[in-house]
Amino acid sequence: MTAKPSKPIIEAVSVVANDRITEGVGLMVLRAPKVAATVRPGQFVHLRLDTHSETILRRPFSVHRASGDHVELLYQVLGAGTLHMAEKRPGDTSMDVVGPLGHGWVIPDGLRHALLVAGGLGAAPLGMLAEHLAGHGVAVSIAQGAPTATRLVARQLFKRVARVVEVATDDGSAGERGLVTGPVARLLATERFDVAYTCGPEAMQRVVAGMLAEAGVPCQVSLERLMACGIGACLSCVVTTRDGFKRACVDGPVFNAEEVLWDASQIPPKH
């Protein structure tokens, strides 16, 4: 289940749909047949929004789902790029992607029960994983956290494929009040997992990875870094690991939690 990733390509894309799904979050469906056919859970695409914009760099987005000719991106509107993204209309053909990129989630042989821990938009790369695992008969339990109920993205998908979805919100508007660590602790206390996958704010991932280490469950984390090239050439995306710097774009974004040294805050702090 962990074949060598297929070679990335540049693919022109067209917008099939682009809808605001909640305050500040959009779901963009792109026609991208080649990427859709080869992308694996946890991989990402590097999206070029415009060729005459003053923001010249591509933007990395996990593939949230892929089916047929389509890939779906679940994105939070933050700055110039994602604002522009939110303005794109169906039929738009001004964008292209480089992808599929990176090493996705590693699915160990004989996996029977997986825990997925999503914080906020960290749900994005876990969507395709959850569907994939369920489709292969793996039992999936999900712990999901968000600031408030409306920010619990991908809920339908998670409910559809997971055996259990436990939820926490900062304001208690859905599930229990508090951090996602609550549900994680509860699930760990009652069930046995072969592996855990987590994505979300780095501080959250770090705490979750610690809990899983203590519980003896191997944990994979998906890390965000500023990425200029996305293909391993620029060294802008380094992650400090036990083996020195690694590049999040090609050596990650998925890492084994135990190799990551959580010693740097890499992303512009506003996010």
């Binding site: 070679k7 990335p8 390509i9 540049i10 070029r48 003053e54 923001t55 010249i56 760099l57 591509r58 480089v98 870094r225 500023l226 200029a228 090239c229 996305g230 293909i231 391993g232 050439a233 620029c234 060294l235 802008s236 380094v238 020195g244 710097f245 090609v250 740097a264 890499q266 992303i267 512009p268 702090p269 506003k270």
Partner: protein
């Protein structure tokens, strides 16, 4: 390419099949781009900066986007010359044997540069050195060598003494008078100069009150700096006798033409590789198309052909 179009150019004694090369630090050693382009079509591959010992580079964040440009403070992270030879040079020898290789050389001291060259002299399959005396992202050495005529000449002369291969010195734009620096390295024996390296810049996040780069300042590259780069290429090529390799914001064929008209014998594609992994080939194709459309039979005719 049409049989009638001669794209070859000369950098001193080094002949290139065409004038489009990659800019150091933006193309690794080519491997990452082999999925996207045919490396054998490049005029030359300029590798990332190589130092005598491994360099860890700077803390993150290391990049920040700016209007039509980006800042970087990578800090010449590299595994050192031995690892470079084992991994990168070996890979290049196997996968891009026909493409000229120019190794970009970094150092904290004059001796440091020479050490890298001494070691690389033992290896085949290197066509030239590009000595980086203009990196704004390291504390010792780096740009300091490139902002003063005497120290620039000192590095150039020592490297010259260490090799008979084509010696290119890469100049910093962060100077009052780039022409005098270029003259100094020419007089010290450089076969060519390349310019420009990045402009020293800074970005701040108003909401957090923090610099966007961990190192606070970094090097500005991309289309934003093209006007400064063109001006410097024009000034330098008007004043020196050695060839000039032009770079700074090149992303299409017209940009390459502009640099050549300004006086460049070859051009390098940098930041554009991040935006489009096929950028260097698009620049090459665009340049060839321009030549055909404008009845230019030898690309080298464009060098310095600006009409004033």
């Amino acid at each position: 390419m049409s049989v009638n179009l001669d794209m070859s150019v000369k950098l001193g004694t080094l002949e290139l099949a065409n004038p489009v090369m990659t800019a150091s630090g933006t193309f690794a050693s080519g491997r990452e781009f082999a999925d996207f382009i045919d490396l054998s079509r490049l005029g030359a591959i300029v590798t990332k900066g190589v130092s005598s010992e491994p360099w860890p580079g700077n803390a993150s964040p290391r990049v920040a986007e700016t209007a039509s440009g980006m800042l970087n403070s990578i800090g010449l992270q590299n595994p050192g010359v031995e690892a470079f030879i084992k991994k990168d040079l070996a890979w290049l020898a196997e996968h891009a044997a026909d493409t000229p290789v120019i190794v970009n050389v970094s150092g904290h001291s004059v001796d440091d540069y020479v050490r890298v060259i001494d070691r690389l002299e033992e290896e085949d399959a290197i066509d030239a050195y590009e000595v980086n005396i203009s990196c704004p992202n390291v504390d010792e050495g780096g740009m300091a060598f490139g902002t003063d005529c005497l120290s620039a000449a000192r590095v150039a002369a020592s490297c010259r003494a260490a090799t008979d291969r084509t010696l290119i010195v890469k100049l910093s734009p962060n100077v009052t008078d780039i022409v005098s620096i270029a003259r100094s390295v020419q007089d010290a024996g450089a076969d060519a100069v390349s310019l420009i390296n990045t402009l020293l810049g800074m970005a701040i996040d108003a909401s957090t009150r923090k610099p966007m780069l961990a190192r606070v300042v970094g090097g500005l590259s991309g289309p934003a700096i093209k006007p400064v780069a063109l001006r410097m290429v024009w000034q330098v090529s008007s004043a020196v006798d050695i060839p000039v390799i032009g770079m700074g914001g090149v992303r299409n064929g017209a940009d390459a033409v502009e640099f050549m008209l300004a006086g460049a014998s070859a051009v390098a594609v940098g930041t554009a590789n991040f935006v489009d992994p096929t950028a260097a080939i698009r620049v090459l194709d665009g340049l060839a198309e321009y030549c055909r459309e404008h009845g230019v039979s030898r690309a080298s005719e464009l060098t310095g052909a600006l009409e004033l």
